[in-house]
Symmetry: C2
């Protein structure tokens, strides 16, 4: 087994196997997890993280791939985290091996990792921040996080990204209506993909209208732009990159980037602390304190809340 | 608002509205939750709790109703907790009102409460123990917990019950096969319902065979009996009660009843303690300690695990 310091060094050099192994270690909550995180820390905080979300059928995977190409034309090292059970790239999610998008299979400056939406250790919210940290530490300048825009996962992804791109497509029935307010709120940049199809202009107009409705913006607030693309032909991708870079500049100038990252770090620390406390309580099975309290609860001498108070006081030294 | 002491007193007298209001209070985690639990404690630990589970279509609701009748013939006060979104009794789950089974609508010694499988506060595992405690404190001698036998909920219910009844029916396709090993392990008593149908004997034989396969029982171990019923006509219900009473006697004689209840109490205390710790961490949003740690993590000066360690140490005074 190669040691963690060596793996981190190799990942920094851009060796894909090392990156893949580090992600596997953090995904599996391996004993080396803490060591990996500590070793990566000095190199993190550099990557710009972009979340891509949208309903099935809008062309998320195609758009992600086209966006990788656009960033590669700018010479950037790119990471992709595909958190989408229906994605063609997610086949390897449970095998833990590295899966590459067809177009980027031979590019050593692109790292692609797929991840099951819900893993055995609590899923996305648990493992995604760790995997992003590995890609960040491995020198990816841009990280694209692709997720299916259904339910909770889109919001969780938005919480992990510096910038969130919401994808739509014309002819998806009641496209925007279905997207509802939730998805409008998390979008920093909107993309109407498949713009060569009938109804693309109508979709963009409707979207523009809906975004305008919520207009109570201060001067200096961000106004989400709408970009039309045909990702399958790579059309409009440079405009998407331009919109992203504008948003990034705004994030930096407004102080919002630092604020978002602090919030994310707070979420992450909180989640880990809670897991640690849970493990500590879990360890109490067989502990004499809990047994004694349970005995009294079972006997009807003490109510479970009173018992829990005593247990917490005991654990926290309060 | 009637005070908690009065509600508990009225519940002890068998007044259904008081029982219903107490359950609503604990379900909603009302401010009076702790007071309710503390007030009920001296009266708990008397009820015999029977879990009923099985796939949709085996006749769980009918069996529960018939079992209520059988226990009523013995003069017992009976509580029913229906944790099953597909149950005809669960209509009132979200309204919080008391729902009764048709046959027992006019019986003042039967309390029926339905509960959504997943509530807004974390669902079954959270609210069910509290509701059981209310029914127990209200003097129910037997409490039947009916749950749909799908996924995790059946196991959670088994953890709440003194005795678990697994229901099967002939002609359910690959009935027992579908039930798999999991459901065989949690069953203390097996019921083949709809025993007037073709294939009932085959189902019972197959079940008997499968239960025998795992045979590595010590003398004195419990051998789960198989009872055939036609619940819709009340046939075989006295035999089910007999099997339950035998299991209860075995639980008491073997010390297993006390052990199961201690385990349950430990689970309950643990869950409450964890929720309290989670709330305490949740309260830290905006707290200077977490903000300062998050700042350092965002700046790449500290890894999130190191930060979480410091937070936990701070919280637990370690």
């Amino acid at each position: 087994m190669v040691d963690v310091a060596t793996l981190v060094e190799q990942a920094r050099e851009g060796r894909p196997r090392a990156v893949a192994r580090l992600i596997t270690l953090v995904e599996n909550a391996a004993p080396q997890l803490r060591e990996v995180m500590a070793a990566l820390t000095p190199y993190t905080g550099q990557a710009y993280t972009v979340g891509l979300t949208g309903s099935p059928g809008v062309g998320k995977s195609t758009s992600t791939s086209a966006l990788v190409s656009a960033y590669r034309r700018l010479g950037k090292r790119v990471g992709v985290l595909a958190v989408d059970p229906s994605s063609p790239f997610s086949g390897g999610a449970l095998l833990g091996d590295r899966v590459r998008m067809q177009d980027h299979a031979t590019d050593p400056e692109v790292f692609i990792r797929s991840m099951a939406t819900r893993g055995h250790l609590g899923g996305l919210s648990w493992a995604a921040p760790q995997a992003l940290r590995v890609l960040d530490g491995a020198g990816c300048e841009v990280i694209l996080v692709e997720t299916v825009g259904v339910g909770q996962s889109e919001v969780e992804i938005a919480a992990q990204a510096d910038t969130t791109v919401v994808l739509l497509a014309p002819g998806m029935g009641d496209g925007i209506q279905a997207a509802k307010a939730g998805i409008l709120e998390i979008g920093d940049v909107f993309v109407v993909n498949k713009a060569d199809r009938d109804g693309a202009d109508a979709t963009a107009r409707e979207l523009n209208h809906m975004l305008g409705l919520g207009e109570s913006r201060e001067p200096g607030d961000w106004r989400p732009p709408i970009v039309k693309t045909v990702a399958a032909r790579g059309e409009g991708m440079d405009e998407v990159v331009e919109a992203l870079e504008k948003h990034r500049a705004w994030l930096e100038a407004s102080g919002e980037l630092a604020a978002r990252r602090r919030r994310r770090a707070a979420d992450e620390v909180q989640a880990i602390a809670l897991a640690a406390l849970r493990a500590r309580i879990g360890d109490l099975r067989g502990d004499r304190r809990l047994s004694a309290l349970a005995e009294r609860v079972a006997a009807g001498e003490l109510d479970p809340y009173g018992a829990a108070d005593q247990l917490v006081a005991d654990l926290t030294g309060a």
